[in-house]
């Protein structure tokens, strides 16, 4: 289950390490003992047929599953060596450090500026108005949206196109300076052009952030990720460097998924 063995880039300790993670929805076990190491400043793709638990697993990493009453998580997830399910961990701080971008763009029905500024404001990251404007600009620039919206920051974020909305959501996540960004099928609601823009952005963001992306598109995983983990029925069947998994899958299930026989 060690990803480092087949990885193209050698790193010493993983950014996120998960061991024996189980997730239950009431009595139903959706994740059945997953071990996974995620490397720092890389894109790790989670692929697999729909309903196999990719989203469920992703939501464990920022404890979004806590918001579902019937959901129970066991096992260990460490970020930078800290168990995020430890009682002393403040979930609010965790989610500031582990940002999330959702499947459907979900900007707040507020101005573009407000969308980005909300996170820094509740976390008290800005000293005054100028500083806040600075954070907003920087975040929008990083999300590659600044040039498109700089003249209409006061207009509603919901008025942007789908692709722009998704980049706004990325900017919103970036604004609280996380170290990890989780993306759950961030392009599934976008057209091909918007998709390729977001993919380019993900590739750029890799320099500064550890990114975990769920996708059901093989091509997307191949294009943006360095490591890939293949999920099947709540288990990880295969992990490794994306290149290896795609050219030389070891597990027959991975192979049949990649060649399009299950999915």
């Amino acid at each position: 289950m060690s990803a480092t063995k087949t990885s193209t880039v050698e790193t010493t300790t993983p950014k996120i390490s998960c061991s024996d993670v189980h997730v239950f929805y009431a009595d139903k076990e959706a994740i059945k003992g997953v071990d996974l190491n995620i490397k720092e400043k890389q894109v790790t793709a989670l692929i697999g047929p729909s309903g196999c638990g990719k989203s469920t697993f992703l939501r464990c990493i920022n404890r979004m599953n806590d918001t579902i009453d019937i959901c129970r998580v066991t096992g260990n997830i460490d970020i930078d060596g800290q168990d995020i399910y430890a009682p002393e961990v403040n979930v609010v701080d965790l989610r500031a450090d582990v940002g999330m971008v959702f499947q459907k763009p979900n900007p707040f029905p507020k101005s573009i500026f407000e969308n980005v500024a909300y996170g820094p404001r509740i976390h008290g990251l800005a000293n005054g108005k100028a500083d806040m404007a600075d954070i907003v600009e920087k975040s929008l620039r990083r999300a590659g949206l600044w040039e498109e919206v700089k003249d209409r920051l006061d207009q509603p974020g919901t008025g942007l196109s789908g692709g722009q909305q998704q980049r706004l959501c990325i900017a919103r996540a970036i604004a609280v300076s996380p170290s990890v960004i989780l993306m759950d099928e961030p392009c599934s609601a976008l057209d091909p052009i918007a998709t390729s823009i977001v993919e380019e952005l993900i590739d750029e963001l890799r320099q500064n952030y550890t990114i975990v992306i769920v996708t059901h598109s093989m091509q997307q995983a191949a294009r943006v990720s360095q490591d890939t983990a293949f999920f099947h029925l709540g288990e990880i069947v295969e992990t490794g460097a994306t290149e290896d998994i795609f050219t030389n899958p070891k597990d027959p299930r991975t192979e049949s998924y990649i060649t399009g026989r299950i999915g």
Partner: protein, 441 residues
């Protein structure tokens, strides 16, 4: 797409084509039939509404004006000073003025009848006019004083058939003669009925006004609003956003829905038994101590009655906020409370406000529970506070509808009209809020 619908249907077998045509025709016929039935329903509902409004407005309009008699008033009496102008008994002055206005009436009986042309409340009206104009004291003035309700009705042609024998009428031949004569002399003026809009209740139709009930309704609703909105919205937020979904909350939910269906009079009984009388548990009394007939008591009872409506509407509004908004807020590290109060609640606000206003409109029109807590008492004074005896618009309507005098019939209709205006205004505000804050996401 257009070319498909325009191309003729190519059927392999003519019989299939025939059958299909028949089916289509049948479907269209059914659709048309349904359309006509719907239209008929709307039209008949509209007709009933028109009839309702027509009768109410027709009955109410005469109450909006009133006939006043120009009476010469002699304020030169030495007994009347600026100090006692507000307490002075003006009855004699009014009486003499009337004799002067219709000279030559002799005999006790006729004079009494003549005096009766002017309202028995005229002296009180005169008192407030003189108090407002102290420079009149020591002079002679011509002042318009309200006529009696029978004279007013006669002049408005609402006395019914006046060719009936005198004994069957409330307005005798001589009174008719005087009235006609005064009218010819131009001494009678039809004015806006300000008494109706400024006075409280009275046994005299011409002195009875709606203002006491309006103030009472306003105070009662204010109490209802202040109690039911924070509690209702708070309960809705808790149940929707924070409460665990378990048997207890399920049970609470069912009971809230049941409470919304409880007849309002039951809430009145609760008010009577709990707020007014209290529940005696041996040496200990639970509840009780609320003032009878007061706005605070009525408002509290109505708040209990409105609470389920507010909770249900608020919950629906909160539920309709897409979960993606909550996820977005939680995803960047907002606490649950922050996500709720910064994002969910503002988006749910229009729905909450609409529900609240509709609940308030229901409370405004509510009569039965207030009867039980004594708000049906005859209250002349306009309430000055929440613990003062008060009545409300629908109860006032209920009482007036019961009075035998013809003058009260118009008042009843006018009061209904005013109540309807308030209700329409409240609903219009609800619609306006809904449109103004409607959002898409």
């Amino acid at each position: 797409m257009t070319d498909i619908s325009q191309s003729p249907v190519v059927a392999k077998k003519p019989s299939v084509d025939e059958a299909r045509k028949k089916r289509t025709a049948k479907r269209y016929a059914a659709e048309k039939r349904f359309e006509y039935i719907g239209l008929g329903a709307v039209l008949s509902a509209g007709l009933f509404l028109v009839i309702l409004l027509w009768t109410i407005v027709g009955n109410a309009l005469p109450a909006l004006t009133y006939n006043y008699l120009k009476v010469p008033i002699d304020l030169t009496s030495e007994k009347l000073t600026e100090e006692n102008a507000a307490t002075f008994d003006y009855r004699k002055i009014v009486r003499n003025g009337i004799y002067e206005a219709v000279p030559g009436v002799k005999g006790r009986k006729d004079r009494k009848k003549l005096r009766g042309l002017v309202s028995s409340g005229a002296a009180i009206e005169l008192r407030s006019e003189v108090s407002a104009n102290p420079q009149w004291i020591g002079t002679k003035q011509e002042i318009y004083l309200p006529l009696s309700d029978t004279a007013d009705l006669y002049l408005k042609n609402l006395m019914g058939d006046i060719t009936r024998p005198e004994s069957e009428r409330k307005f005798s031949d001589i009174e008719i003669k005087w009235s006609d004569q005064l009218k010819q002399q131009g001494k009678i003026d039809t004015r806006f009925n300000s008494i109706f809009f400024t006075h409280g209740a009275s046994r005299e139709p011409e002195m009875a006004g709606i203002w006491g009930a309006v103030v009472g309704s306003f105070m009662t609703l204010l109490v209802t609003l202040v109690l039911s909105v924070p509690v209702g919205v708070g309960a809705a937020i808790y149940l929707e956003e924070f409460a665990p979904k378990n048997r207890l909350t399920g049970f609470i939910e069912i009971n809230i829905n049941n409470l919304a269906a409880v007849p309002s009079i039951v809430f009145g009984l609760l008010g009577l038994g709990f707020f007014l009388n209290g529940v005696h548990l041996g040496w200990f009394t639970l509840g009780g101590g609320f003032p009878r007939s007061a706005a605070i008591t009525g408002g509290t009872v109505l708040a209990l009655m409105t609470l389920p409506t507010v909770i249900i509407a608020s919950r629906a509004a909160i539920k309709s906020v897409p979960p993606s908004i909550r996820e977005a807020a939680l995803g960047i590290g907002a606490s649950k409370t922050q996500a709720t109060f910064h994002h969910v609640l503002p988006l749910a606000m229009p729905g909450i406000l609409t529900g609240t206003i509709i609940g308030m409109a229901g409370a405004l029109g509510e009569t039965a529970p207030l009867l039980l807590i004594g708000m049906v008492a005859f209250i002349v004074d306009i309430p000055g506070g929440f613990t003062d005896p008060a009545t409300v618009l629908p109860v006032q309507i209920f009482m007036w509808a019961d009075f035998p005098e013809i003058g009260f019939q118009q008042k009843t209709a006018a009061a209904i009209l005013i109540l309807l205006c308030f209700l329409i205004a409240m609903n219009a505000i609800a619609v306006w809020l809904r449109n103004k804050f409607e959002r898409r996401w």
